[in-house]
Structure formats: C-alpha cells, structure tokens
C-alpha cells in the first residue's frame, strides 16, 4: 500500500472528519436564513427608515435627513430619556447592593437548598411580566393591599402614591432584573477555591478582611458585568413600566410605542429604536471591555 492510497477518499478516519465540511452549511443554513430574513432585515430596514422624512403620504424614501435624530433632543424626549436613565440606574444600584447579601446567603445553603432558592429568585423572570405587573397593581394601587392596610390601621388618611410613578417602575422591575446581577455573582462566588479563604486566614486575615481582600476583588468582574446587563434590561423594559409607570412616568420604550402605533411616525420611531439599540450595544461593549480589563 502506498501513501497515495492512504490519503485517498477510502481512508475512513480522514473522510469522517472531513465529510461534514461541505454539509456543515446545510445544517446552519435554515437558522442563518431565518435570522437574516426575519431579524437582521427588519432591523436594518428600521435603521434605513429612520433617515427618511415622514410625510402625510407616508415615508418619503427618496430623501435622506437627520431630522428624526435631532428631534430626540427635544425637551419632552430628553426628559423621558433622563427619567429612563434615572430609573435604570436606581434599579441597577439596588440590585448591586442586594446581590452580595443574597449571593453569600445562597452560598451557605445546602446544594438542594441552593437549587430551590435560585428557582425562587428566578421566578420573577420566568413568570409573565404582565401577570406580575397585574399583581403589583393589586398591591400598590390606591385601593391595593398596602394602602388599604395602612388606612385600616389608621396610619394614613389619603392613599400613598406607590405606582403610576417612578417608584412603581422600580418596585416592579427590580425582582425580574435582579437575577442578572445575582446569577453571575453567585457563580463567581462558587468558583472561588475555598482554600484561598483558608490560606488568607492562616496568614492572619479575619473574615471581614478575607471578604475585602479576597472575595470582593475576585467577584468584582462578574458583579460589574451583571450590573451592566441589568442596566440595559432596565433601559429596554416595556410592559412593566407601561403598566406601573402610567402616564406620569413614561419611559423611552413606551414613548417609542406611542410614536409608532399612535402617531404612526415610523421614521422617528425608527430613530428612537436606533437610539435604544446604540445605548444597549454600547453597554455590552463596555461590559466586555471591563471584563477583559479585570481578568
């Protein structure tokens, strides 16, 4: 037998590895076609539309303008953007503050306990937003559980305004988005070799010092990455802010809904979408940069 015979198509092992080469695209093709046609194409078209003027006759595809973007800086939209940012930052800060106590508590539980506790902390993300928001209106509304209870106890005369404002949005969004700070932090915490803590202690470090000098620096990248994801989700949230923020506390996503479905101004709606997309992608890039720097 010659080397040529070995290299020929009859040699099984080599052809086994190679055979998928050409067929590989066949496996990937349906998903790629679907994502390009039903995902990238609409997104791309939306970006294109945002550079066209809106006319009473429809979108004027013959002209290219930047006016839709200039309008983002109008007072009303600037106020909405600021509100959205403020609410998002508050939720992220609260999530970060709560993440360590929760993750440290989780880490102390038995493996079984951890599974269940994680499931409970996941539940707000798994349960339908609309259902959860409905629940919050039952709790926070003027005739909701809290106001009824406080009034019955004689503590207040007029109902407290707990929803249809920024507070309502924060209360409603925090549980579902908290998870995205908690899970990476918990995973990072579990990933720390126990021996590191013991090593620090044999060298004279007390538990508080161990947390500050070992645990905190080793989990910080995960915390920051989670916080940024959390922030982008807060910025993009739609249904819960719409139901709990009401007309007084409109956020960016709801204004985008109004512009597109009530004003039917799609070019401007597209500009709003591009703005939101830019913020999100910017945050993701920041998260990856931070992750790379701290590793």
């Amino acid at each position: 037998m010659t080397a040529a015979a070995l290299a020929g198509p009859g040699f099984p092992r080599a052809s086994l590895a190679a055979r998928l080469g050409g067929a590989g695209w066949l496996f990937l093709a349906p998903a790629v076609v679907l994502m390009v046609a039903a995902y990238l194409a609409p997104l791309f078209d939306s970006i294109v539309i945002s550079f066209h003027p809106n006319t009473p006759q429809g979108i004027d595809r013959a002209h290219w303008i930047l006016g839709n973007y200039a309008r983002l800086f109008d007072d009303y939209y600037a106020t909405v953007l600021l509100r959205t940012l403020r609410v998002s930052v508050i939720i992220t800060l609260l999530s970060v503050l709560l993440a360590y106590p929760v993750a440290l508590w989780l880490a102390e539980l038995s493996p079984r306990g951890q599974t269940w506790a994680i499931l409970v902390y996941m539940s707000p993300w798994l349960v339908n937003t609309v259902v959860k928001s409905f629940g919050w209106t039952l709790i926070l509304g003027n005739s909701g559980v809290i106001n009824t209870g406080l009034r019955a106890a004689g503590l207040i005369d007029a109902p407290l305004r707990l929803m249809f404002n920024e507070l309502g949005i924060v209360i409603g969004l925090l549980p579902g988005h908290f998870l995205f700070v908690l899970l990476p932090l918990w995973a990072a915490l579990k990933g720390i070799d126990d021996n590191l803590r013991w090593a620090a202690m044999t060298l004279g470090a007390r538990p508080g010092t161990v947390f500050l000098r070992i645990t905190l620096p080793l989990t910080l990248p995960a915390l920051i990455a989670g916080a940024i994801i959390n922030f982008t989700m807060n910025m993009a949230a739609f249904a819960a802010p719409a139901l709990l923020g009401g007309t007084r506390a409109r956020v960016l996503s709801f204004v985008a809904y109004q512009v597109n479905l009530e004003e039917l101004n799609w070019p401007f709606g597209g500009a709003l979408a591009v703005a939101m997309l830019t913020v999100t992608l910017g945050c993701i890039a920041l998260a990856q940069w931070v992750g790379g720097r701290l590793r």
């Binding site: 086994l16 039903a38 609409p42 928001s133 629940g135 559980v145 549980p175 739609f238 249904a239 999100t280």
Partner: protein, 258 residues
C-alpha cells in the same frame, strides 16, 4: 451576621413572590371587589373565564403560537447547534452572536422593526409574521440549550456508528438525536414558555385579529381591573410553575446560570 442575612433574604423572597401569590389569592375571592383578608373561597371566576371567549381565543392563540414556534425553533436550532458544535465553522462566534442577538437587542427595537417590516411586505396582522417573530425570539434559548446538549456527547459515538456503516444522517438520527432527547425536550419547553410569555414584540406587531393572552391581559390591566383576570393570570402562573419545575428537573435552568 448570619441571622441578618437570612432575615434580609426572607424579606427579598416575600417581596419577589408577593405579586404572584396575591394574584393567585385574589382569583379565589367570590366578590367583585378585592378585599383583605379573604374570608370566602370560590371558583366563580374560573368558570367565568371559560365562558368569556376573548380569553379562550387568546389562550388558544398563545398555545398554538408557542407550540409551533417552539417546534420550529427546536428543529432549526438543533441543526444549527449541530453544525456549530461538530463543524466549528470559521466565524462560529459571529454565528452564535447572530442566533443569540435577540437576548441582547431590546425587544422594543425588534418590535418597532417588525411592525414597519411586516407592513412593508404586506404581512401585517398575519399569523405567519407573528410566528416568524416568535421563532426568532426563542431561537437563542433553543440554540444554547441544544448546543450544551450536543457538546455533552463527543463525536466518538457518531464515529463509531459511521465506522459500522451508517451514513452521517443516520448516525445523527440514530445516535445523537436520542442522546440529546432531554436537551430537546428542555429546549422545547423553554421556547414555549418564552413565546407564551412574550408581550413586547407581539404588542407592536399584533392587529386586532391576533391578540395573544399576554396582550389581552395587558390591554385589560390598562383599562380596568376584573377578577376574571386574576383567574386567567393564576392559570398562567400554574403553567409557568409546571414548566419551570420540569426545566429545573431537566437541568436546563442551571445552563442559564452560566
């Protein structure tokens, strides 16, 4: 210290579960008004839900949409995940980015894009457009879950099957697919749950003809509060709990933690 941690976590869990528990609780009140504490217990609102065609139609639409979207996503997603794992094409990171982009890109952005796009191509208000959007939205969950599942089993078993004379597609069908059955079930349930809960994109796309259950609840919550809604919501919660427990059992949720 440990006590304080436990106390804080108990508070957190109460806070997290409060709206869900309250909805279920309320659904059993017999009166039109929500009153606390609840002294009577009634299934009245559950009966009313089923005589209310708006809810029944919406629920049926959501079920049909979720099942179909999950089916398509698992089929397409399995092929894609298989291609990614076994073939490792150049630029597979870009492809993975494409498949998981809906996790990252805000749903509102996709909703706006979809609204404009389906109008342009004349599919506004059609079930097909809605289905396509849902398949796209659940695709990340399908591809990720299935990728992990395929990775669990190396190519050696397929090689063994092929060395015994099976062609690749038979090796995949006879070896890989049965081995990945758990992953496929998990991916299917996951996709169904995500599709069944989807509100944002659907709300942007949906005409009056196709109001899914979440959209209908959304429209009602904005208008008025009605105990039948608590009953509908409770059934949604029950379905979610069942699926979540199944997913947990299948280990699909721990995949998410990574």
């Amino acid at each position: 210290m440990k006590r304080a941690l436990t106390a804080l976590n108990v508070l957190m869990i109460v806070y997290i579960l409060a709206p869900i528990v309250l909805v279920v609780w309320m659904s059993f009140t017999p009166t039109m008004l929500f009153r606390i504490p609840i002294t009577q217990f009634s299934l009245r609102w559950y009966y009313e839900v089923f005589s209310y065609s708006a809810y029944v139609d919406a629920a049926l639409l959501s079920l049909r949409l979720g099942l179909l979207a999950a089916l398509v996503a698992v089929a397409v997603g399995f092929c894609a995940a298989y291609g990614l794992v076994r073939w490792k094409p150049p630029g597979s990171a870009v492809l993975m980015g494409l498949f998981t982009a809906p996790l990252v890109v805000p749903a509102v952005v996709f909703g706006i894009a979809m609204l404009q796009f389906i109008n342009r191509i004349g599919l506004y208000g059609s079930f097909t457009a809605l289905l396509l959007a849902h398949v796209v939205l659940v695709m990340p969950f399908a591809v990720r879950t299935l990728q992990a599942s395929i990775q669990e089993h190396g190519p050696e078993l397929e090689w063994a099957a092929m060395s015994l004379g099976a062609r690749r597609w038979r090796a995949v069908m006879l070896v890989t697919v049965p081995l990945c059955l758990r992953g496929m079930i998990a991916a299917f349930l996951f996709c169904f749950l995500i599709s069944f809960s989807e509100i944002t994109v659907t709300l942007f796309m949906t005409g009056p003809a196709h109001q899914t259950l979440p959209v209908r609840i959304f429209n009602y919550v904005s208008d008025r509060i009605d105990p039948t809604m608590a009953a509908v919501s409770s059934m949604v919660v029950l379905l979610t709990v069942v699926i979540a427990l199944a997913l947990n059992r299948l280990g699909a949720l721990s995949e998410l933690k990574k």
